[in-house]
């Protein structure tokens, strides 16, 4: 099964409520994915600043002294804001790659959830409402958010197996379904320089999109190409720094419903996820067509 929710805000007045609304949406999708949950929040970006969201198996020990260590290696000031098992490391944008390398080599116990100017990803094993509460999702603000509740089919129930998957700067993807050609595709992507953290099929889809974006395609074009190259069942919701995309496979078994008002575009695996949104009674509500790319940018 799995449940997906997504909210892309068009009217900036609604941005302070992004976390609150996403949290309500996510809580309606617990039965669809009680194993684990995760969400990507695109918060306010600060010019010249980049963020890396980290997860630590033993946060007290692993986050202690991290800021100083990273600052020293990259030769610039870093700061750390901890949220439960995760923490957001902020560094100057031009030091992002250096910081990632420093984390990889000096702190292999830390897992990198996401990096970019706006994105923060939080995900854990546990019941979705508990996971959302653990990270205080309801208090988060920003322009768009994508959440996922997981019922695992293709790989183990672990933190890293939870969605969203991020395989490029400010990019993320969540998936309901299962891919059947992910092993082959993974080999091809690895040959072309992409790297993987898990055996999960969804991570391959995420990396595929990142690989296409790297080639210069926009999100809509990358999604269009994926229809030729991905085999299996999928409903995807994808985020970039300023974009939000939706795609279903040509069979379109995996449910999807969308709503749009002047204030937002919202996605839910079911209408239940949308029922609590402001102005939903007068929203345009539709089921996304199979094999049709939808994407919004601002």
């Amino acid at each position: 099964m799995c449940g997906i929710v997504g909210l892309f805000i068009k009217d900036t007045k609604l941005e302070p409520r992004l976390g609150e609304l996403t949290s309500v949406m996510l809580s309606t999708m617990c039965e669809r994915g009680p194993d684990s949950a995760g969400f990507a929040v695109y918060g306010p970006a600060h010019e010249g600043n980049a963020k890396i969201t980290l997860q630590a198996p033993n946060p007290d020990a692993h986050f202690a002294g991290l800021t100083t260590a990273i600052s020293k290696v990259i030769g610039a000031e870093a700061s750390l804001e901890r949220k439960s098992t995760h923490a957001v490391l902020s560094v100057p944008a031009d030091k992002l790659q250096a910081a990632r390398e420093a984390l990889r080599s000096g702190h292999p116990e830390l897992r990198i959830m996401s990096s970019g100017e706006a994105i923060e990803i939080y995900k854990e094993v546990g019941y979705p409402t508990q996971v959302a509460g653990q990270f205080d999702l309801a208090k988060m603000q920003g322009s768009h958010a994508i959440g996922h509740t997981r019922m695992a089919t293709e790989s183990a129930v672990t933190t890293m197996g939870a969605h969203p998957f991020s395989t490029g700067p400010d990019q993320c993807l969540v998936h309901n379904g299962s891919l059947s050609n992910h092993h082959n595709l993974r080999r091809e992507l690895v040959r072309d320089g992409m790297s993987f953290e898990t055996d999960n099929d969804t991570e391959v889809a995420a990396a595929y999109i990142s690989w296409r974006i790297k080639q210069g395609l926009n999100l809509g074009e990358a999604l269009q190409k994926s229809l030729d190259d991905l085999d299996g069942f999928f409903t995807f919701v994808v985020g970039t720094k300023n974009g939000f995309g939706v795609l279903r496979d040509p069979i379109a078994c995996k449910p999807a419903v969308m709503a749009e008002t002047d204030q937002y575009v919202a996605f839910g695996s079911e209408y239940r996820a949308l029922a609590g949104l402001p102005g939903i009674d007068s929203a345009r509500i539709w089921e996304p067509e199979p094999a049709t790319v939808y994407f919004w940018e601002r």
Binding site: A252, P255, E270, Y271, A273, A275, I285, E287, P290
Partner: protein
């Protein structure tokens, strides 16, 4: 009239109450408030009730319905009126996948659009859709009638048996063993009756085209292997 507010009454309590109603019940008028996309609202009813659901519902609304007239004043998720036996279900908005699937009797009226697999494996139900229907509709449809005011998606009537399909708009493609057939007077009369029962007017029976089985795939024949 009984009014049940799903904001304060559980879905299970509602469905238990509805299941307790029998043929001679005096409580025939029901109104259900705040469904907010819940699943299986008014599923399994077996009594001549009139049930108004005020809002949009999730999976399996009015599933297995017998005898009841159920109106959804909103849209419905996957499997609306799945396996209906008798009675009538009207959805004022859109329905998601496999509406009316496996239905054996009664009538499903969709005033908006239906998505993929509408009427899949239908076995006697009559389905009238005022809008369009999605791909793979009436897949393996056995008996009953599907009337569509708008367009049909890909692979309409794939592997169809004896159900009759009437489409007023365009058919994107026909599935294996489904062909267009001649409209005879009996079919015009049939559509007229269905529209009357559905309470819909504004279209004429002769605006529809008929599709049904070429009857080539009923039994396996090696000469037809490419068509499977």
């Amino acid at each position: 009239m009984r009014t049940i507010d799903l904001a304060s009454t559980s879905l299970r309590e509602l469905n238990e109450l509805l299941h307790k109603q029998t043929a001679g019940t005096n409580e025939t008028q029901w109104e259900i408030l705040n469904p907010k996309g819940m699943h299986a609202v008014a599923a399994g009813v077996d009594a001549p009730l009139n049930i108004d659901i005020k809002g949009s519902v999730g999976y399996y609304v009015a599933g297995m319905n017998k005898q009841a007239n159920i109106v959804v004043h909103g849209s419905a998720g996957p499997g609306a009126a799945e396996n209906m036996m008798s009675g009538k279900v009207v959805v004022k908005g859109d329905v998601s996948q496999y509406a009316g699937a496996t239905g054996r009797g009664g009538m499903l009226v969709v005033e908006g659009n239906a998505s993929s697999r509408c009427g899949i494996s239908m076995k006697g139900i009559d389905i009238v859709v005022k809008g369009n229907i999605g791909h793979m509709s009436a897949f393996m449809a056995q008996t009953g009638n599907l009337v569509v005011f708008g367009d049909a998606g890909d692979a309409l009537g794939d592997s169809i048996y004896e159900a009759r399909l009437f489409v007023r708009g365009n058919v994107k493609s026909l599935g294996a063993d489904c062909i267009e057939k001649e409209m005879r007077d009996e079919h015009l009369a049939l559509i007229d009756g269905l529209l009357h029962r559905a309470g819909l007017n504004g279209v004429r029976p002769n605006e529809f085209r008929r599709y049904g089985s070429a009857r080539k795939l009923y039994n396996f024949n090696i000469d037809n292997a490419d068509a499977y």
